[in-house]
Symmetry: D2
Subunit: 490 residues, 4 copies
């Protein structure tokens, strides 16, 4: 799937910083980090700051550069601030409301807490119903509010926030990478199966940073220390860094393999493996699985470029720059007429004629979602004079829904569901079509100690949601009219 | 106090509509009603609609015409919608955050509820602390969230929402006029002392409207039925209109007299009395208490005009138009320099020379807050050639804080605190100065069955807040760092 | 015509300041003055400043408070600036383009010039065609660009700018009040018939101000000196103030009488007469011409209030406050449905029931344009319980187009065109209807040495446009395809 | 120079379309084309449309996606429109005013004309002074207005617009590629030396397109026909396409070589040569001129990528992806503190560690302007573990100003001015540094029949401006106070 087709969406990026030495511009560091995590969520963003125990924040719908105007950023900046957290979020259409933007800041019996979440709980409805039955009220529809409630309740019993977090983890199921800020502590949490990435960096002057991806450490001026382990609770405070590992040690860890294929930035290192290198490896495997005689290998920018380079390396076919992407197309691009709509791929992406004219071309992309865009891109190459187009996909066919934080279109829209490779190729119109095998996809990140979730290719889920629904479960729940309300005495 | 000086602020206006016949454009009716209540709150506003039991809404910082763009209004409009509620809010600087905008929509164990609040609880901190100790989390700082929690908890026990509301009222202290929308009912509630107004209208096609002031009924095309009684719960649903009166009947009702003097619109009728008529009556009393030989009576626009007409009527001195107010000065007016700042009253307000030149002028305003603006207005008249300026104030001297929903500046800023009338006049520079007596102020609304709160003049409060603080109590609570957090085990 | 009906539009307000002493914040003074002239034009505005001979400026579509953000205002502010000019403009729909916003700044052979214009030339098309035939190019469609060209060309011949202006006046016909700023001089010009007002003020520290109305002098902190005479050129520079009067002395001066009835602000003094006083006088004349037995006299806010006071004074019938105007209705008010559209007058304006219920009411407005709004306002009063409504209009029936700077709807839309007073009343539905006579309308401003233009009532024009067209003449000219272009050799 | 350093700016992109068959959505085609030309100018843009001879348009400061909102675009769209023109513009800080945005639309004695200009006249001041002395007035500061005047004046004498254009070309000196739209004709003009590119496309249904670059033809759905020749006037109208060639045939044509190195998009074909191919050729020449032992060749995105591929190809050293560019950094990125400012390159650009760690790296960029950014990028690589960094620049050292439409910083800021290559390398800190030779730079576009301007490398200009000034000449002229104004009689 290229960014020009129906997009798959990562749901979130999280970040937190604890500047022990007080030498950083903490708010500016979060702001920079959110820019570097923007690819993980473009619908809303927010920053919460901790000024000597008092937590305040700002969040809104929009990109980082839209939400954080100089005025807003200035209102969150103060030399005294030494702890802050930030979030970028993608949300499905129905839940595109401000109340779901993060960091979520809640006031409770022990003070104030800010919480950032990346992932998706599979038992959110059940937990939410239990809480509602005990008198809880909810302002938004996200499962993040459920986590806040559980931590708050445990904290009333448990005293320390890390103990409350640990007891909350006993109840949560599914995917969650969290950054939590209390009045004195910054805490990172990764679910026991490790669905979503989360890593730790150190600040040159002393202090710690937590981030969804290591590229955010670079942006914030921190040095990579290590990944948070699946199940680990990491606490940064005035006493330094310490871990609670009572949920660590599962054998069936389930890191999302799509992080390597598509979501993460190539300059990030996840579970010990360079994302760029993993994608090049996908290209090398593809060359091995689906070799072809050709004159040039090109990638669909930007997500197909790394794999194209790997394919070129393994096959010996020269690498070329086949497309120029228009940098100025934004969300406001207007498609005037039917004709313009059909033409829109061409405006966003143009073939470099001198690279492909009269050539046999290997074209690499990281997935095919609905097929429409792939068909148009192939046509673009043929219009520019390509003699042959051999399409190679750096992932297996994409067929099943994700319950762990990726927004995937309805199965009916997925071209691979219920079709053979030959049938798919008939739709997209390449000369040959080859997908990466499931065997190879789990070998992309060679240093990883983690296992991988490949359920979107295989349909084999480690855990299923409590009600079998799309990722929009909460929406349905909230917007349905409670059937038994009347019986209750109204 | 004129609108040109440091303003006193009413905190809110509430509105709800239940269109039984399904013949109204319900969302448009709320929109119109909020325009007519805008004078009660200019910092944020919101609308919640109920589409066959499913409640959704939109709220933001800004005026009605800023928040409700055609797109937003269209997203809330549907022919099927038959119930809706709306709110305008003033908020003190510190709490100018979106999370406090209303209607507050909460999801709970029995469905969804939207709630609008005008007033101020005096035991909010105590109630909030109790709730927090039981595991409640708070997203904002307003006491409205406390009310939502209490109703939700009572409902789990009580079944019907009206019973839950009634049990909640047992716990609340202070001022509150509420409009509550559940999936099937629209409910109006007024606190037992009746601090803030709330009235009922009927729709021509069948159905009911609740509003802070009757001018909103006119805007929504409804006919005035009656006021909600102090302590009354009024329920509108498919079965018509009914009342729960178990909190009615207090002898010491305490309607805010400032509603008549300043807050309410002159075309509203509150507790059976026309606000315009009450203000004219204030002018008549003033003419009786503080007569003077003069050539013309003028009012500071707009709030002094009615009383000026009453003074003229009682004294026989001709009424004149003494000032022209600039209609285009908005919130964005820029005061370039010190000089311009001093000049700013003159740009907002200009004297009509032909009315005042060589005349002995009686000048009426509804209050003096800090004195600066009154002084400038008097100077304006002298510069325009007035021979004498006799200042008459249609309320008693304003000296004490309000705990019931009015934002009043710090006592140190009130010119009347600790000064005699003569000393005040020395500051503002009139020839003579006269205030309305406390005896007369409670006789302005002659048809009222309500008693009146005059605590801001007398310092005699029917109930005091649980912690003696300004109206900004919640802010302080939230932004202070909880002192004992560490003891609790972090 | 009230502001709630189809509006008549004044086309412009002009302002200029020369701060000889260098003690003023000149840009802030223009900004304040434009606020006080905003009623003369709400579609675009602009400011040009002269920084030691270098002229720059900013102009855009929008109100003063929309166009002049703090950033924009700061970019025009500098302590060294001692001369500046400003403009507010109304423009008919077709020509609502930025290129027509003023002040117009042009660079020419003798330097730079900024020019502000209020009025309308009647021979603009002829002058423009002559200029085009000599190679001139035009960027916009306004006649202001024609004036700039003529002055520029005369200046190449004449040397001094005042001589160039005088020679240009030989060629211009119609209405024009100009403020012109060169690198060293500020010049005010009024056409020989004096259609539009223009006055002179003095700054306390030394220096001069020119403005369309005296209310702008008050806002800018200047003292009224005198009106610019019809035909006069007034020059302010380092040498003080001087006049060129070679176009003065016409007997048939033609000041627009609608300036007194509707356009100008009541606190302005024009041609020696207070606008407020002139409107009261209109009310007194009305009481004399159309007496009636009644209980209360009320005016449609804001433009009918002064005349209502005059009617009350002359008739002895008490003056009342009959309506409350909603201050928050802006340009963005959305009329959701047909029903809401009909209801819109009621949202903008609400009757004060206690003033009119069971009363015989005299209702004063300054004109009836299409009749629809008047009909709705009368219905408002009847709905509020008025027993009788006697409508009095403080101007004669409005029947003919204006060629001198007022935008008037098509004659077909004017209710008075081709109808008797009785027929008009049938449309608006009052008990009785009375208009001010043409005899009295020219006596409103008792101190005026000027004659008055009453052509919109009588159809007798002192001068007609070169092509008999609506006020949109330039638009038609520009947007029509030149018929003979092809013959010319393309 | 990468886009991350002080940018060099192309001043404009021009576009025109004549849809003979009436089958295109002409406005949408211009809109798409402007997106594809956006890299040539990001400060203002505009579109002018011709609706049956009536020309109207819209232009403003901002990017295409900011200026052309759906409302604005709809206002310019109509099925009947068959001719339109568009422009993107870069402007130096001082002249960043709306009056200079294009297309410039002027009304003159023969109708209306829209004109788009890319380039810079070298005799603009002289021409402007002559026009001013004949009574012309100027609204803006650009030389485009001068061209409009000259064409208008010639047309009054000459009849046909193409003859007027030809006579105007007799007077103009310097660089200009124009697209002109009259009521019935669309005309493309390229100056006799051919400084800026301009090409012709054909529409599938019949009709013609003119564009600065061929990538705009692709976006508009047109097919490349040929370049406009230096000196050629090409007319498209109802009769088809024809040429006036009386200014063609100069031997010393001077196409700007920087179009190939940096300005043009790689997917464009200019003067018969692919821009991508020319850049790859630059890389091949560099490998030949400055070979080095290394492990990987990387380019600075995006402008160094093509040359890096060429270097890799010629040298046999593998090509790598060395950097990830942040796609979300917009113009509103806020640099909080000094620290953040230093860090800003790192946020915009991050090294891919797995590509460069422990490697000897050849780094290719297309120029070095001030040196600061190059130094930071080299440091980025060293921080990521690169063992050696060999910097290769795909152009000669950049030392002299451009008078032909490129905005270049002051010579004092150019690191190459007055320094040897060794001295430059000391500043940027590479292991070795090599520039492309001037001999090779003119051989990049191997099919070109044009000669090349290399004055910015050599200082040898074909023509010099009438006053030796920076490219900001008009600004200085306008903002200086005319010295002799007083003598002229004021």
């Amino acid at each position: 799937m290229s960014e020009f087709s129906y997009p798959l969406h990562e749901e979130c990026g999280v970040f937190g910083i604890y500047d022990k030495a007080g030498t950083e511009d903490v708010t500016a560091a979060v702001y920079s980090a959110l820019y570097s995590l923007q690819h993980r969520g473009q619908e809303s963003c927010g920053i919460a700051v901790n000024d000597d125990g008092v937590i305040s924040g700002y969040r809104d719908l929009g990109l980082v550069n839209e939400v954080f105007t100089p005025q807003v950023l200035a209102s969150l900046s103060k030399p005294e601030i030494r702890m802050a957290t930030g979030h970028v979020r993608y949300a499905t259409a129905g839940s595109r409301i401000r109340a779901n933007a993060q960091p979520m800041i809640v006031r409770h019996g022990r003070g104030t807490m800010a919480l950032c979440h990346n992932g998706n709980l599979t038992n959110a409805i059940q937990l939410r119903t239990e809480l509602e039955n005990e008198g809880a009220i909810f302002h938004g529809s996200s499962d993040t509010e459920v986590i806040c409630y559980l931590i708050t309740r445990e904290r009333l019993k448990s005293g320390s926030i890390e103990l409350a977090v640990s007891r909350t983890m006993d109840k949560l199921d599914g995917a969650y990478s969290l950054v939590i800020m209390s009045s004195t502590k910054l805490i990172a949490v990764r679910d026991p199966r490790g669905y979503r990435p989360l890593c730790i960096g150190t600040l040159p002057g002393g202090g710690y940073v937590f981030a969804s991806e290591s590229c955010a450490l670079d942006a914030a001026g921190a040095d990579f220390l290590r990944d948070v382990e699946p199940g680990e609770i990491v606490i940064a405070d005035a006493n330094g860094l310490r871990s609670v590992k009572d949920h660590c040690g599962r054998k069936d860890t389930q890191m999302c393999v799509f992080e390597f294929i598509y979501f993460a930035r190539p300059d990030s290192v996840i579970e010990g493996s360079s994302v760029h290198e993993a994608r090049k490896q996908a290209g090398r495997f593809l060359a091995e699985e689906h070799p072809v005689e050709a004159d040039v290998v090109i990638g669909v920018p930007d997500s197909g470029l790394d794999a194209a380079l790997g394919y070129s390396e393994a096959s010996g076919i020269p690498y070329g720059i086949g497309f120029i992407k228009n940098k100025y197309i934004g969300r406001t691009f207007i498609q005037g007429s039917q004709k313009q709509r059909e033409n829109s791929v061409r405006i966003k992406l143009n073939a470099v004629t001198s690279t492909v004219k009269d050539k046999r071309v290997v074209l690499i992309d990281d997935s095919i979602v609905r097929g429409t865009t792939s068909a148009r891109i192939i046509k673009l190459l043929r219009d520019a004079g390509a003699k042959e187009v051999h399409f190679r996909v750096s992932a297996p066919p994409f067929k099943y829904p994700c319950y762990f934080g990726t927004d995937i279109p309805d199965q009916k829209l997925l071209v691979a569901t219920g079709r053979t490779v030959a049938e798919i190729n008939e739709i997209i119109g390449a000369d040959t079509l080859g997908y990466l095998s499931t065997e190879h996809v789990v070998q992309l990140a060679k240093n990883s100690k983690c296992g991988f979730c490949t359920a979107c290719f295989t349909g084999k889920y480690a855990v299923k949601p409590d009600q079998v629904l799309s990722t929009n479960i909460h929406e349905r729940h909230l917007h349905d009219r409670p059937k038994d309300e009347k019986k209750l005495g109204e």
